[in-house]
């Protein structure tokens, strides 16, 4: 025990463990005594921001969580959504930002491990992963090291598990340089009847631990995740946890088999705060207590104390609550898969988490106090100065390029790492294993078919942190809207979201203002789009030496495509098809706010992004779903980074052989003419609720009709030409832009690799 107390450090123990003075007083008051060392450690981890959501709880309650498909909402290990046919999808996204900043490979690997166990804990078989990543710019050696390490960590762990990584996103923006974001979404599938929960029901039932043995890894990992990174990060770092995907694979198979056999009353993954949190949470949810005997926990190191065992974050472990008569069966299944399956305690009626070590009581804490008793903060918030400056941004200072420069600009945008193909990333991921990946990475949302049905699940992650930074409320709405659109362009109907809220230090009023506004925006958008929030994760303190990341509320959207044979993909299909725009492009200067164009071409992160028209977004989604179900759409691509021009270019690049090339006339109905507006805003402006589709001529009237019924503007843009060039004409018939598709494809395909080329040394922190 004493080894943790540095004599040089005069701060009281609780502060060294990350608790505030008033939190400590609260513990003493509620407990009616001073906690001992082990108990203090347990409080410190469970009352950390990471586990207790102290600064986010009150706002998270304002999110809409109800919906007819929602079977399990926030509060469990993952949300569960009914997808029909007696099946359900469990899905959730989680961050592993801090560990990745220190050791990117293992940080990312163990991040995958953690979220997969969350899904497993619901009783679902994990079937898909998506990774949502943010780094600094690639001209920095440390960034390249982090990026390379994270991607290979995801590949190394996910590929071995045999869970396909089917999508995600990667952004490179300056504020993430020191504090990368690594968020991973996992989705699983199950029969309704197989739903399990993390609840320790039934006094007398046995508590078991399955999987890896427990070592001293990562003690206080979640306290670490609840602090800003600073100069002394290195010394505070808990022992790095090394992922063992092989063990995790066995754990998945073994736990599924145990649950299938009806042996499991309750199940919970051991993530942050290990045995302590899994015990406290399962007991608190069931209103019971647990008595644990530490010496029965399989250990991999000698001389471990109760403190070590209770706080260890050793990976690849699950906590099971098992009926006494099923214990032998669980052990036998464990043995079959070569895993430890040890009885470590019982469910009691005491309402206490009691920890014994060789029979001696080492800790006894009410489970409610541990799991739910932490203080809830409503921090102060203050609008940051930059926000009002944004609104005064003078767009006339952004020179409109000459028309002849537009081709070059489009190529530059396509080559920009934020827009260029992410194939160098996802080709390292096994995105096809399980033979259900109908659409993998590289199109809009991923489509995972459900064997034995005609269905597919559509999943996308989205968030443009730059927009959220500039206008948190609007930016969060755009994130939800874009995620919904990405799902809808496949033909699937968006049904629910999960989220991962990555922000700076919430104790700073400007950061809390960002958080508050982003939550409000998300809530509004989720209501409007009928996509309730089923769960998520909050990651605060994403700051290094006082510099916060862009506020980044990553949205993970789940959709359902009833007939997978009706799926729609982004590439043009056949020469002669009509290209149309559904929705609107404003073409005014404000649509340049926070655009990739403004940053890449003009070097500015500026402006105040406007709010999306959520009613229009909803109708747009409905049109896409309906049109797809009637088989009207040959292709669909939404507008996001890089605007209309990039969306058109991508449909050309991804076109079927012989169908590449398009002629676009921007004078078409529904779309404002170039002459009336800034042509750069028309072509590259973002924050538009719009989708580019293509269809056969004969279907145009029907699609128009649907758009009319649902109130979505429809405009013909042009035709798939098969001429191998993308030609965009102004309303007067003169070309604004005429670029060979082969050239577009080359810069887009190689943009990321070219940006990465440079020296390969591991970067130093400075």
């Amino acid at each position: 025990m004493a080894e943790c107390v540095t004599p040089k450090d005069p701060a009281p123990l609780w502060r060294q463990m990350g608790l505030k003075d008033e939190e400590y007083s609260m513990i003493v008051e509620k407990l009616g005594r001073e906690p001992n060392y082990t108990e203090l450690g347990m409080f410190a981890v469970l009352w950390s921001e990471h586990c207790a959501y102290k600064h986010s709880k009150s706002l998270l309650r304002t999110l809409p969580t109800k919906g007819e498909r929602v079977m399990v909402g926030p509060g469990e290990n993952a949300g569960v959504v009914d997808i029909g046919d007696g099946l359900a999808c469990a899905f959730k996204v989680e961050s592993h930002n801090h560990p990745c900043a220190v050791e990117p490979y293992q940080g990312a690997a163990t991040g995958i491990g953690g979220i997969v166990r969350d899904i497993l804990a619901m009783g679902a078989r994990p079937v898909a992963l998506l990774d949502s990543l943010r780094f600094g710019h690639l001209d920095d050696a440390r960034t390249r090291f982090l990026f390379g390490g994270v991607v290979s960590g995801i590949a190394g762990y996910g590929n071995c598990l045999g869970i396909p990584t089917v999508g995600g996103e990667v952004y490179f923006q300056a504020p993430y340089r020191q504090n990368p974001l690594v968020n991973v979404l996992c989705a699983g599938i199950m029969d309704h009847k197989d739903l399990h929960k993390g609840q320790a029901y039934g006094v007398g039932n046995v508590v078991m631990i399955v999987g890896h043995s427990t070592g001293r890894d990562g003690i206080h990992g979640c306290t670490f995740a609840s602090e800003e990174l600073g100069e002394d990060t290195e010394s505070k770092r808990p022992n790095v946890q090394v992922g063992d995907p092989f063990m995790e694979k066995l754990l998945i198979e073994a736990c599924l088999e145990m649950m299938q056999k009806g042996a499991v009353v309750g199940i919970q993954d051991m993530g942050a705060a290990g045995i302590t949190s899994s015990c406290a949470e399962t007991a608190a949810r069931a209103g019971t207590g647990l008595a644990i005997e530490v010496s029965k926990v399989p250990m991999r190191e000698e001389g471990m104390t109760a403190y070590d065992v209770m706080l260890s974050e050793s990976q690849e472990r699950m906590l099971l609550i098992v009926k006494p008569e099923k214990v032998e069966e669980v052990k036998a299944i464990g043995k079959k898969w070569g895993l430890n399956a040890a009885e470590i305690g019982q469910v009691t009626s005491s309402g206490q988490l009691q920890v014994f070590h060789n029979g001696k009581l080492e800790a006894s804490i009410p489970v409610n106090l541990l799991a739910e008793g932490s203080p809830v903060y409503n921090p102060e918030w203050k609008e940051p100065a930059y926000f009002s400056e944004n609104q005064r941004f003078d767009y006339s200072a952004v020179k409109v390029p000459e028309l002849k420069q537009f081709g070059e600009i489009l190529l530059k945008l396509l080559a920009a790492p934020n827009i260029a193909s992410k194939e160098p990333v996802f080709r390292q991921y096994d995105y096809m294993v399980r033979t259900d990946t109908v659409q993998g990475p590289g199109g809009g949302a991923a489509l995972i078919r459900v064997k034995g049905t005609t269905k597919a699940m559509a999943i996308a992650t989205d968030c443009n942190g730059r927009l959220v930074y500039l206008n948190p409320k609007a930016g969060a709405k755009w994130a939800v809207a874009e995620a919904a659109r990405n799902v809808a362009i496949t033909g699937a109907k968006p049904v629910a979201i999960t989220n991962c809220l990555n922000f700076g230090n919430p104790e700073k009023p400007e950061i809390y203002w960002q958080f508050k506004n982003a939550i409000e925006g998300m809530a509004e958008a989720c209501l409007a789009l009928s996509t309730p929030v089923t769960g998520g994760n909050v990651s605060f303190y994403n700051e290094t030496e006082g510099e916060a990341v862009y506020p980044t509320p990553v949205i993970g959207m789940l959709g359902v495509l009833d007939d997978v044979s009706k799926k729609v993909t982004p590439g043009f299909k056949a020469t002669g098809d009509v290209i149309a725009l559904l929705g609107t492009i404003s073409g005014d200067a404000v649509s340049l706010a926070g655009s990739e164009y403004l940053e890449t071409v003009h070097g500015a992160v500026a402006g105040c992004p406007r709010d999306p028209d959520l009613a229009l977004e909803k109708s747009l989604v409905d049109v896409l779903v309906k049109a797809a179900s009637e088989g009207l759409l040959r292709s669909a691509q939404d507008l996001s980074e890089g605007g209309l021009a990039v969306a058109l270019a991508e449909s050309c690049i991804l076109a079927e052989k012989g169908a590449d090339g398009a002629v676009i006339e921007l004078g078409g109905t529904g779309c404002k003419a170039v002459a009336d507006h800034r042509p750069d805003a028309v072509l590259f402006g973002e924050c538009n609720s719009a989708v580019v589709v293509s269809l056969v001529e004969e279907d145009v009237s029907r699609l128009k009709e649907i758009c009319g019924e649902l109130g979505v503007p429809f405009g013909v843009l042009g035709k798939v030409s098969g001429s191998s060039s993308l030609r965009i004409e102004s309303c007067m018939g003169t070309a604004v832009l005429d670029v060979q598709v082969s050239e577009l494809r080359d810069v887009w395909k190689n943009g990321l690799l070219r940006a990465m080329a440079g020296d390969t040394a591991r970067g130093t922190t400075e």
Binding site: V102, E103, D217, V240, G243, D244, M247, R300, R762
Partner: protein, 83 residues
């Protein structure tokens, strides 16, 4: 002068080594049950020019620190011989 340097890199003691553990358990199941622990490391052999062995050593140490070993999880050892 030409030297042959060997940089041996391994996980720090406290860090769990799943690979080594898997190899150990396979060895045991093959009947080598007297093996109690296995740790997997890297052995990197470099051929380089330096004016003397001290310089070669210093260079290798530098490379190990900057590239060959990951200071967060690994430690290393350098050995130099004349080639």
């Amino acid at each position: 002068m030409r030297f042959r340097g060997t940089v041996t890199v391994a996980l720090k003691e406290g860090i769990f080594d799943p690979q080594g553990e898997a190899v150990r358990s396979s060895l045991v199941s093959m009947g080598y049950n007297r093996v109690s622990r296995v740790r997997m490391g890297k052995d990197i052999v470099l051929t380089l020019e330096a004016k003397d062995s001290a310089e070669a050593h210093a260079l290798l140490d530098d490379m190990a620190r900057k590239l060959l070993a990951n200071p967060v999880t690994e430690f290393y050892r350098v050995k130099v011989e004349e080639a």
